[in-house]
């Protein structure tokens, strides 16, 4: 109690003393009159007042007096962190920033990459991507009109060869089914706003978009699993070799010129295989980065490598200091670009595997192909399989491809 009274007593004297202190004006301090006079002079175009320090002593004297005068003579911070310095640092995200908020990118005060990103997404990605798909379909249509269906030339034998085992076909259809679902939903997310809202309205598109997003996010796991399965199953048969060179030189006989010998997979199929594996893996990685936002930034490190290898220089040096949001923007753009290329390739694949070539669908549909088809399109493989089948000394556990029992 006595202590509290003592404190009160002391404070009662301290307050007027502090007030007195504030009246004390050290030499060189700007007063409000000084500031207003300076503002009026500047407004009148009098530039001489900018050299305030000449009249008030330089910043060194100001610091010695303990007064916060910056280099241009205004009050404020007595260090290198001038206003422009701070705002530049904020703008380019190179200052130490902290926040009590723990959300993703919480300490990124500003990023303007989003404006460029959304324009690229709405402009070039839609126009070039959509254009690519459109012209691929047109080209396939023209090819069909000119070349027609690629028929089995020789007489059908009625005998079949096992081409794909049940687990191979399962992996293929898991990949194909999930890819189609992902392609359709991905295109919907990109084009829904300009294609569906004008026709059906916001209320229809909203719920459809929720389903679209659900399918796209969750089916992706089936796609990634199937991609691994397909890679493991077929990678050995898809390693390029000399026979591919012959096939490529004659363009596979697609434009006439007879049939070209080929192993189980011809050079065109190998190209499709590697395109699917590489583009699919890239899609999976950028997709995972989008699936787990801000957990898997990809581009700053990729760009650093590209710059180190000199490739980045071709693009005028790629940025390596990216805001978290900018990583996500690039993931989205890359995901879209790769997806468009892959969809275009798959269009051609679907065409050749269905209406484009007689007898081709059976390989994946039933697992067994007409012997004559195999002789024409995969002669090396067909000869080997038939030789094994017809070999009387063939062991019970021969090559699975030679097994004459139906797959199903």
């Amino acid at each position: 109690m006595i202590r509290a009274l003592l404190l009160l007593f002391t404070l009662a004297f301290a307050v007027p003393a502090a007030a007195q202190d504030s009246d004390f004006v050290p030499a060189g301090t700007q007063t409000v009159e000084d500031i207003m006079a300076r503002q009026r002079a500047l407004a009148d175009g009098d530039e001489s007042v900018r050299a305030v320090r000449d009249r008030q002593g330089g910043p060194d004297e100001a610091v010695a007096d303990g007064i916060g005068l910056t280099a241009d003579g205004t009050m404020g911070q007595t260090n290198d962190w001038s206003d422009p310095g701070i705002w530049r640092g904020v703008r380019y995200d190179d200052l130490d920033m902290r926040s009590q908020i723990r959300g993703p990118a919480a300490t990124t005060l500003i990023q303007t990459g989003g404006m460029e990103w959304l324009e690229r997404r709405a402009g070039p990605l839609r126009v070039w991507g959509g254009g690519l798909l459109f012209f691929t379909l047109v080209a396939l249509g023209i090819f069909f009109l000119l070349r027609g269906r690629i028929r089995i030339d020789g007489p059908r034998t009625g005998r079949t060869l096992v081409r794909f085992r049940v687990y191979e076909r399962f992996a293929h259809w898991l990949l194909a089914g999930s890819f189609l679902a992902l392609a359709v939903t991905g295109l919907l997310v990109l084009f829904g706003r300009i294609a569906i809202i004008p026709i059906f309205g916001h209320e229809v598109w909203g719920p459809v978009a929720i389903v679209t997003k659900w399918v796209h996010n969750n089916i992706s796991w089936a796609f990634m699993l199937a991609l691994v399965m397909v890679f493991v199953l077929w990678v050995l048969q898809n390693i390029p070799d000399r026979s591919d060179w012959q096939w490529l030189k004659r363009a596979g006989g697609i434009f006439g010129g007879g049939h070209v010998p080929a192993k189980k997979f011809n050079a065109g199929q190998k190209a499709i295989f590697w395109a699917v594996i590489i583009l699919g893996a890239s899609l999976s990685v950028s997709g995972l980065s989008l699936l787990f936002p801000f957990e898997m930034p990809l581009f700053a490190s990729t760009f650093t490598h590209l710059n180190d290898w000199g490739i980045g220089g071709l693009f005028g040096g790629l940025p390596t200091d990216l805001a978290p949001q900018e990583e996500m923007q690039l993931s989205q753009l890359w995901h879209g670009i790769v997806a468009f290329v892959m969809i275009a390739i798959i269009f051609a694949h679907i065409y050749l595997g269905s209406i484009g070539m007689e007898g081709a669908y059976d390989a994946m549909g039933k697992g067994r192909v007409e012997e004559q088809w195999a002789r024409e399109h995969h002669s090396i493989w067909a000869d080997k399989v038939m030789a094994e089948r017809d070999d009387p000394r063939r062991k019970q556990t021969g090559s699975p491809d030679a097994n004459p029992t139906p797959a199903e």
Binding site: I35, R38, Q77, R98, S99, I110, V189, R193
Partner: protein
């Protein structure tokens, strides 16, 4: 017609985070979601400044431009609002936003990220004004009650200003002239394409 804007005076903000707390309380924002954040630059070093940030209600909002379901709209006062019925939680508005304003409840992964939540300038949303649905989805509609955003209303140092753009910039201009330093209202160039002190500096 008024044009609603936020302005945070970095020379005054003391990082008390009361704006964040008041906002959460007023709108009963769920755990883990902060419609407003305070970021401190050069914490503990000379030149330390703090800035309170939320949706700036941009003149030409990038979120509105990028949204796949077109769920954003801008009121006559320039307040940017969105419909949680249309939002699919894709996260694109967060990537587009210069200020990191959109927030997502429930989960951080793309798969189950909930519907986006952000500062409404205390103006509710596309539900019947003062309805239960409006409060649950978007928070209190103080604008309809004739009040300004709670974060700025209770800011102890009046660092955070909210209201009509002309009034807000006038207050800020007077401050800058009077103190002779600390100009450059943070984020105005990006959000509104202008600064409140352009005429002076």
């Amino acid at each position: 017609m008024a044009r609603a804007k936020f302005l945070c005076d970095a020379e005054r903000c003391i990082e008390c985070n009361a704006c964040v707390t008041a906002c959460k309380n007023e709108h009963e924002v769920p755990w883990g979601i902060n419609r407003r954040k305070v970021v401190t630059i050069q914490d503990g070093e000379p030149g330390e400044r703090s800035i309170s940030v939320a949706c700036m209600h941009c003149s030409d909002p990038p979120c509105m431009a990028v949204c796949p379901t077109d769920c954003f709209y801008q009121t006559a006062d320039g307040i940017v609002l969105h419909s949680k019925d249309l939002c699919i939680g894709c996260g694109y508005c967060f990537y587009a936003c210069p200020f990191g304003a959109p927030q997502y409840p429930t989960a951080g992964n793309f798969g189950s990220r909930g519907k986006m939540d952000k500062c409404t300038f205390c103006a509710g949303g596309p539900e019947e004004t003062f309805s239960e649905a409006e409060f649950v989805k978007y928070g209190r509609n103080r604008i309809a009650e004739g009040k300004l955003p709670i974060c700025a209303e209770m800011c102890s140092t009046k660092a955070l200003l909210a209201g009509d753009a002309d009034t807000v910039s006038e207050i800020y201009r007077e401050r800058v002239v009077a103190r002779g330093f600390g100009s450059g209202a943070w984020g105005w160039g990006t959000a509104y394409g202008e600064t409140p002190t352009q005429a002076e500096f």
